[in-house]
């Protein structure tokens, strides 16, 4: 190897190392705080390590466990509501003739394309008048509306990739429209719909702003617990809560390509 090539390789390795530090440094700091029992200035690393705070978080009667249960329940219900409205809508958008189809598609994008804080403060006000503020049902509705762009767009793309000839064959053999849908179309579109369900579940699990305005003070999800622990200076509890939220997000990043096939992905938003 010439000197130039060696220098080039060294420069690339150094750049990659810096990039990795920028990416993983913040995560490493989070992990350190989660096992730091005592850590104060001027010490560069925790003074004593331990799992005491993990025990506090995972104590069955603790705040964290009840927040986790609330978060998972809300995310599950959000997926249910989102799928109930978006499977029919996705099918109609993919297969049936609709007036102003582009406009309908854009309508589902709007809740994500607007600065949401200004919307949520008014949702909270409206919910307060009709008794939905501070309830799980209210939070589920807000999360479902926010996740619609994923559930509807991906469901529509998944239905669009189903081969029409298979449906026609079923119809020719005498199956009713509904039976064709239930036995042919829906099972073939299932992986895409599953992907959209995971998207909506994670969006709901991670959602902070909507819950902050609509859910308080009765509904405490994990992100709200993280926020109050962090602002209260309890970095251990905040970091452990953050790690719990991190695991499903990173796991999904690793496996997304298995669920969302390229042919479905290429039809999203069309």
């Amino acid at each position: 190897m010439t000197l130039r090539a060696v220098l080039g390789t060294a420069a690339k390795a150094l750049a990659l190392a810096l990039f990795a530090f920028a990416l993983f440094g913040p995560l490493a700091n989070l992990a350190l705080w989660s096992v730091a029992e005592r850590w104060y200035t001027p010490f560069k690393l925790p003074v004593t390590y331990g799992l005491r705070y993990w025990e506090v978080v995972f104590r069955p009667t603790g705040d964290a466990m009840s927040s986790l249960a609330t978060s998972v329940a809300i995310a599950g219900l959000t997926v249910l509501v989102a799928l109930l409205v978006s499977v029919p809508a996705g099918y109609a958008l993919a297969r049936l003739k609709l007036p102003a189809r582009t406009l309908i598609m854009i309508a589902f994008l709007l809740p994500q394309a607007f600065p949401s804080v200004a919307i949520y403060i008014n949702v909270a006000r409206i919910f307060y008048q009709i008794g939905l503020a501070g309830t799980v049902a209210g939070v589920v509705l807000v999360h479902a509306a926010h996740g619609l762009v994923y559930s509807v767009w991906i469901a529509a793309a998944a239905f669009a990739t189903v081969d029409r000839d298979l449906e026609l064959a079923a119809r020719n053999m005498g199956a009713s429209g509904l039976r064709t849908f239930a036995t042919i179309t829906l099972p073939l579109a299932a992986p895409g719909i599953m992907a959209s369900a995971i998207f909506v579940f994670l969006e709901s699990l991670d959602e902070f702003t909507g819950t902050f305005f609509v859910g308080v003070p009765q509904v405490t999800t994990l992100p709200l617990l993280l926020y109050s622990a962090s602002m209260g200076g309890n970095y251990q509890i905040a970091s452990i809560t953050a790690l719990i939220l991190l695991v499903p997000s990173v796991a999904f990043m690793m496996v997304i390509e298995r669920f969302l096939r390229a042919d479905v992905l290429s039809k999203v938003g069309q």
């Binding site: 705080w33 804080v117 200004a118 008014n122």
Partner: protein, 275 residues
Amino acid sequence: MSRPSPLGLLLVAPALALVAALFLYPLGFSLVAAFTANGEPTLAHFEKAFELYATDIRFTVFIVLVSTALIALISIAIAGVLTLSETPRLITTLRWLYRWPLFIPFIVAAQCMRTFLAKNGLMNNTLVAAGVLDPIQTASLLDWRGIVITFVWKQVPFVTLMLAGAMASLDRATIEAGRNLGASRLRVLVEIVLPQVGQTLLVGLVLSFVTMLSVLSVPMMVAGSQPTMLTVDMAFRINSYGDYATANALGVISYAMTAVVAWIYLRHQVRHGTP
């Protein structure tokens, strides 16, 4: 199939109703609250908003613009390396690395940065240990810089994913032709590759811009109280004063920022035609 299907409308209706009830109706509510007082049209709430929060409005625009510019630069650099590099190991490592923050929630990113960027955080400690900084030179980055760093950290993977995807589907022949004619890789990136993926880059940047305007947790957790971003001001007006009028006026100002970006995007689309 020539006539609209009534069944189709029926199937779409529940989903549209959800958007109408939880987005369009509250949007109308916010406009009414921002532009009226006691049923009379007025601009008084905007006067109050500008009087109290002119600094924060400028601060918000500044942060979001700087972040968007940095996101564009870094995403182009990473996607460019992924597309044009001739070192397979570099490509594999970078492809594995860059995506990590993709689905990490903003609030988790904020908590990470709150510790990482502090005066005694892991970043300064590492730089001191590596001999890059003197202990005396360390400073907390938990101000506007912290917000920008968090936004860039979180949004670069998203824009890079879109951009690298678009670059991968380009016709390799034009790139090879440029290289064969002796153009450097940087020149091929700027003059051949980028013009063909401009549309995708713009979509990614517009979406990032709006996302950053909507995030409440990052400015609340990463930076101190003054100056701060409009999202924090809105939450403060509501939670401390129940002042929906001023909060909604600030909301309309943030819609206006989004509208400017949407306008730039649409003008670009009209000029270049939809792909």
